[in-house]
Assembly symmetry: C2
Homo-oligomer: 331 residues x 2
C-alpha cells in the first residue's frame, strides 16, 4: 500500500499551479505507541488554504516548503494504539492532502455517521458552519428585523450564515455569482433575495432590496463587492470580515475598501474573526446546528470531487467561483 | 457697521480656492424677538469643513451654494431678546464664517472666560477635545498598559487623545509631520514617543517603538499611515476612524486601506465615530477635561491666525500640515 501525498513545492504567485506542489508516493506510515493510523475519506478545500501557502505572519504559521499541504480532513481509524479512539471510528482533523496519516489523538474529534452524512462534518457541522455561526452571531450580532447581507452566499460559509440569520428573524440578502446559485439560496435555503454580482450592479440592487440600508454584512469576498456594500450600510452597521477570496490570488496589492469612511459617516464597525478563537464553544454550536439540521431548518449543499490526484485543480475551483456549496475531495 | 461673510460659491475640486467662496459685505443683521445678536470673536477651522463642502449624503447635510460657510464659532452677545442669554455673555455655536449673526438661542452654549481662555473653548474644551475624549475612551477603550498610537498627534484632536491616553496609564506614540511637532508632543505633552512621518518609515518606527504591537490606533489621517499602522496591530486591537485628512482633497478615489485583512488576522476592529452622537454626555467630558486643565494635566496649543479675510487660505493650512495645534481665526 502506498500513501499518496501533495507537499508544498513552491510559494504560488497568483493562482495555484500543479507545479507549486510535489506529488509523492510514500510508504504507509506506522503509528507509534499512543498514535493511530487514519485513512483519509474526504479532504476539505477552503479559501484559507491559499493564505497558508504564503510566507509571512498570519493567524497560523505558513505551510513549510516540503511539508504535506495542510487541509481539513475526515477519515476512518484503521489502527489505534491509543485508548482515545478505536479502529472503525470516524474522525475529523487536519492531517492534510494525503491518503493516510499516523498521528497522535490531539486535534482529532470523533464524528457519528449515523447522525449526519460524513461530508456534513467538513461543511455545515465543520469549520465553515462554525465560522458562520460565531461570525454572524458573535461579531455581527444580528437583531430580529434587521437586514443581513452575505457574500459568497452559495458557498460553504455563506449558505449557513444566511440560514441562521433567517432563523434569528432577519431579512437576508445573498450575493452570489450566477443565476443558479442565486436561485438555490432563495428557493432552497429561504433567503429573501439574492444579487447576482455577475449580471447585476451590486450597489443598485442593494439600494432597491434594502432601501433603509444594511445592518450586518458578512464578507467572504472583499474587493469591489465590499466597497459596494459599504455605500449601503445603515447607522451602527456591523461588517464581519471573514475572508476576501477575490483578493487571495492577487499579484498586485490588495484592493483596500475605498469607501471605508462610510464607517465614520454611519458610526459603523468592521471586525475580523478567526473561527479557532471559538474552539471552547464548538460543542454549543454543533449542538444548535445539529438540531436545526435534524429539524430540516438548516440545509446544506456539498460539491464533492472524486480523487485525491485532482487536488491542485480542484482547489482553484474555489477562486474561479466554479464550486457550488462546500467543496471537498472524496479520496 | 458691516457684516463680512464668506458664502460657498462652488463645490471645490481638490484643495479649496478663494474662488470657491464669495466674499460679501452685508448690513448688520437685526435680531427678532427670541433671538440674539452675536459678534464673532473666533472661528474654528476643522478638517470636517472640507467634507461639508461636498455634495452627497454624509453625517450632516452639505453647506448649500450661496449659504454662509458653516464653522464652529465663539463670540460675545451684543443684544439679547431672549431670557436665555444676556449682553456680554460669551457663547459658542456654529453660526459660520461671518462677523455677526442674529440667531435663536438653540445650539448655543455659554462659556466662562474666567475658567479658561476663550480659544480653549474651540479646542480642548470644544469639538476637538470632545471628539478625542469620546473617540478614545468609548470607541478605543484603552486599558492601562496598552499601546495607543495617534496620528495628527500635534493637531487639535490628536494632542488631546494622547494626553488622555497617558492619564489612563497607556504607552502613547504620536505620529506627526516634522521634528518641531514631534518634539512638542513628547516634551510638552508627555507622549512617550513620536514618529515623524516626513522623515521616518512609519511601519519600521512603530515596529521598534512597539515591538509587541499597537492596541489602539486613533486615526485622523487615513491613507498610507493607516495602512502602515494596520501592519503593526496587536490581537484584538481597536482602530478609531475619526478622520482621513490625507484623503479629503483627493480628486481621485480615496485610498482604501490595503492592509485591512490585518483586522482578520488580529481579530481586530475598525469603527467610525462622530462626536455629535455624544452630545448628551458633553457635560461629563467638559467637567473631566476642565479639571485636568486646571490641574495642569492637560495642555493644549492653539494656532491663531488674525483676520476673517484670511479664511480660504487659513483653511488650507489644515491640509498642508502647516498648522500646529488647534487652528482658528481671531476676527
Amino acid at each position: 500500500m502506498i500513501n499518496r501525498q501533495f507537499t508544498l513545492a513552491a510559494r504560488p504567485q497568483g493562482l495555484v499551479k500543479r507545479s507549486d506542489f510535489a506529488y509523492a508516493e510514500t510508504p504507509l506510515p506506522e503509528p507509534k505507541d499512543g498514535e493511530l493510523l487514519v485513512k483519509t475519506l474526504y479532504i476539505s478545500l477552503d479559501p484559507a488554504m491559499r493564505g497558508w501557502m504564503n510566507e509571512g505572519k498570519s493567524y497560523i504559521r505558513p505551510v513549510a516548503i516540503g511539508e504535506v499541504m495542510r487541509a481539513g480532513t475526515l477519515g476512518e481509524v484503521l489502527v489505534s494504539k491509543t485508548p482515545a479512539f478505536k479502529a472503525g471510528d470516524h474522525v475529523v482533523g487536519n492531517w492534510g492532502v494525503q491518503d493516510y496519516a499516523a498521528l497522535p489523538p490531539e486535534g482529532l474529534s470523533k464524528v457519528d455517521p449515523r447522525l449526519a452524512p460524513l461530508p456534513k462534518y467538513l461543511g455545515v457541522l465543520g469549520m465553515p458552519g462554525l465560522t458562520a455561526y460565531f461570525g454572524l452571531l458573535e461579531i455581527g450580532q444580528p437583531k430580529p428585523g434587521e437586514v443581513v447581507v452575505v457574500s459568497g452566499a452559495a458557498g460553504a460559509v455563506g449558505q449557513v450564515v444566511g440560514q441562521i440569520a433567517k432563523l434569528k428573524g432577519c431579512t437576508v440578502i445573498g450575493i452570489a455569482g450566477g443565476a443558479d446559485k442565486c436561485a438555490y439560496v432563495v428557493r432552497d435555503l429561504g433567503f429573501d433575495a439574492c444579487v447576482d454580482y455577475k449580471s447585476q450592479d451590486v450597489k443598485k440592487a442593494l439600494r432597491e432590496l434594502a432601501p433603509k440600508g444594511v445592518d450586518v454584512y458578512f464578507d467572504n469576498v472583499g474587493g469591489d463587492i465590499l466597497d459596494a456594500v459599504l455605500t449601503q450600510i445603515r447607522m451602527k452597521a456591523r461588517i464581519v470580515i471573514c475572508g476576501a477570496i477575490s483578493q487571495y490570488n492577487n499579484t498586485t496589492p490588495v484592493k483596500g475598501p475605498s469607501n471605508y469612511m462610510s464607517l465614520l459617516v454611519n458610526r459603523a464597525r468592521m471586525e475580523g474573526m478567526v473561527v479557532f478563537d471559538w474552539a471552547p464553544r464548538y460543542g454549543e454550536a454543533i449542538q444548535a446546528m445539529g438540531a436545526w439540521l435534524a429539524e430540516g431548518q438548516l440545509k446544506s449543499r456539498e460539491d464533492i470531487v472524486q480523487g485525491l490526484e485532482t487536488f491542485p485543480e480542484t482547489l482553484n475551483k474555489l477562486f474561479s467561483g466554479e464550486n457550488f456549496g462546500k467543496l471537498m475531495i472524496q479520496v
